[in-house]
Amino acid sequence: MSDQETTTKLLPKDEAAAKGLVNVHIDGNWIQVPKGTRMIEACKIAEKEVPHYCYHPKLTSPGNCRMCLVQMGMPPRPAPGADPVFGDDGFQEIGWMPRPVIACANTVAENMGIRTTGDLVEKTREGVMEFLLINHPLDCPICDQAGECSLQEFSVEHGRGQSRFVEDKVKKPKNVDIGPRVNLDDERCIMCSRCIRFMDEVAEDAVLGFSERGTHTTVTCHPDRKLDSNYGMNTIDLCPVGALTSKDFRFQMRVWFLKETKSIDVNCGTGCNTLIWTRGSQIYRVTPRRNDEVNSEWMPDSHRLAFHEVQGDNRLTDPMIKVDDKHEITDWHTANTAVADALKQFEPSEIAIIASARQTNEELFLTHTLASTLGAENIATVERIGEADGKLISADRNPNTNGAKLILGETTKKLDSIKAGLNDGSVKALIVLSEDIFEAAGFSHDDLANAELVVSSHIIANATAKVSDIVLPGASFAEKRGSMVNVLGRLQRLNQALQPAGNAREDWEIIRDLILALTGEPNDLYMIEEVVKVIAENIPAFEGMTFSKIGEQGIKLIETGVEIPLLTKERERASAGIIVG
């Protein structure tokens, strides 16, 4: 009985404190949030939008844009000697402050009240918007940010709709070349300093800063430097307005025409999460997508722009068979039958397969099936080792090395034995999948002198395709679905943003059809989901996996012990309370 009494008497503040939480009153509702939460984050938990420009959870909060102003209230301080008074609901009455406070840099406290609406808040927002727009140019029709500009959005939601400013606007430099990939328009800048903080805190190349004062404040690059860091283009995504724009994407297309597809970067083992922006049959840009386990919110410029490689005129669009030293276009059925017939002429030991750690798990698994159908044991992948940049790019430039290891086993060493086999004549037929054996694997034309059959599948008309007897056109990273295992052992998904070029096909379908042509038995693999199911049944690490389980953020598959330096630093800063994280 007495036990119960004490529990009923326990105040909400004590209950919350026991869990490390505090009670906050947001727009009429009490919620509990962890102690030390920023007010803006608490509002996010309460699903109340607080418009903001300078605040970014991955950067420090200088609180300089004033867009996030909200009304705050605390219980009045009791008179000396008096005890705080608690109401029936166990909370103290909130005394609202007559002035707004910024939500981005203040933290919540017990019994705090926050109003994200109301007269005071709406008036202040309108005022801040008016100040931000005073010198803003009427550039929306020629501004690449239009359509994804926070200034446009908040001015519609919180602005006054009409300008009262009759004086001449302040002129600032426009169309400034501040780096090889980034353009600056100072008139559009709203001085949020996100770009400056990013370059300093994340890219660790503090080349940006403010110069001048007052309305003449200008974002500038250090006079002897350029914004040329390989992470510079992240400032474009960060910039809430069109002050920083991409040179590559400049005036290419309005964003509202573009379709976003969630995918991953395939240029190194990290596998940054990305969005592929397409219209029709063209990729217009690739931007990073947030994944706190892989790439935070960033990606390197070099990988962002790598999509141009798959949009050239040198794409393979039709299956081809070499007749009298000339490649002739044919249809898939003829090509597949030709491959099967040709391969049947060889002993299993005479056939070698060069697969790739750029293939998806599904393609690798089917490659494995192809090898066992043929009885071929010579199967190798090509290593690509570069230099890690200490941030996101990993030394392993193959996106799916871990997947290849799980499915094919250790295969990188076998490349030399295949080369030797080709030279001594014990290997006569070569199947090359998604690789260029000359450039990447270091083969020479002499190595291939004795080869009687070369079958290759790739997306580009490269040197391997040139020497191949049968060429099968595959799909680029944006044209296919599949999964890969990154350096962390995280299984992630590629999604299809475009249809494969011309008559090209998704690579897993190519290999499936080759197996079909060889065995003549239908294998019931019509969708990639079914391939994943078969992988899950055959490869222990994938047990229980389905394509949809991977999700948009990927799923941890194996422990590799690898760390991504940029994330390690970010977590340190978050736990030190410098950033929200």
Binding site: C140, I142, K174, N175, F251, M253, R254, W256
Partner: protein, 189 residues
């Protein structure tokens, strides 16, 4: 509940049943109009710009062009301003709004050194497929630069599909110069 009223057929008199009288009356009206048209006295002939015979205008020898009201919605076309600047900045809003997707724009950058380099952007190519266009006027409505107008040209014909696609050159030819609009890109800009 709705009320149901049952209607009965009218009963006809003997003369109604013959209906010859009705035919005769109708013929008289027709003959009267025929007579009037020959003598140029058709009702409403003036307002309809008759060629003299009845109220018929002999299109295309005769046209109604002078009578077209100011708000007439003919072919959409691009216009230049007083200083011969292309007003269009290829913002692609018209391409977005166009209900039948008749507009195709390839945006382009104005190179440095050009008189209008400060405008930064103008269309590289601008096509309106006149087979698709429904003359709705939404492009004119949405344009933030007052660059596209529906003119009075309505007789858009061609002998092939390709001919029916107006390219940038053709659009400026139809549109011509338009003066007295807001000069946003003035010396203050």
């Amino acid at each position: 509940m709705a009320k149901v009223t049952k209607l009965s057929r009218p009963t006809l008199t003997k003369s109604d049943e013959i209906y010859l009288i009705g035919i005769f009356k109708g013929t008289l009206v027709t003959l009267k109009h025929a007579y009037q048209s020959v003598f140029g006295k058709s009702r409403g002939a003036d307002g309809l710009k008759s060629s003299g015979l009845g109220i018929t205008m002999q299109y295309p020898e005769e046209k109604w062009d002078d009578e077209l009201p100011e708000y007439y919605r003919g072919a959409p076309a691009l216009v230049t301003d007083e200083q011969d600047r292309e007003r269009c900045v290829s913002c692609q809003l018209c391409e977005f709004i166009c209900p039948p997707k008749a507009i195709k724009i390839i945006p382009g950058e104005i190179p440095e050194g050009d008189t209008w380099a400060k405008v930064e952007k103008r269309p590289q190519e601008f096509e309106i497929d006149m087979i698709r266009c429904i003359y709705c006027g939404l492009c004119e409505e949405v344009c933030p630069e007052q660059a596209i107008y529906l003119r009075k040209d309505y007789s858009i014909t061609g002998t092939s599909r390709a001919e029916m696609v107006h390219n940038k050159e053709k659009l400026y030819e139809i549109g011509g110069k338009r003066v007295g609009l807001v000069n946003k890109w003035n010396e203050l800009k």
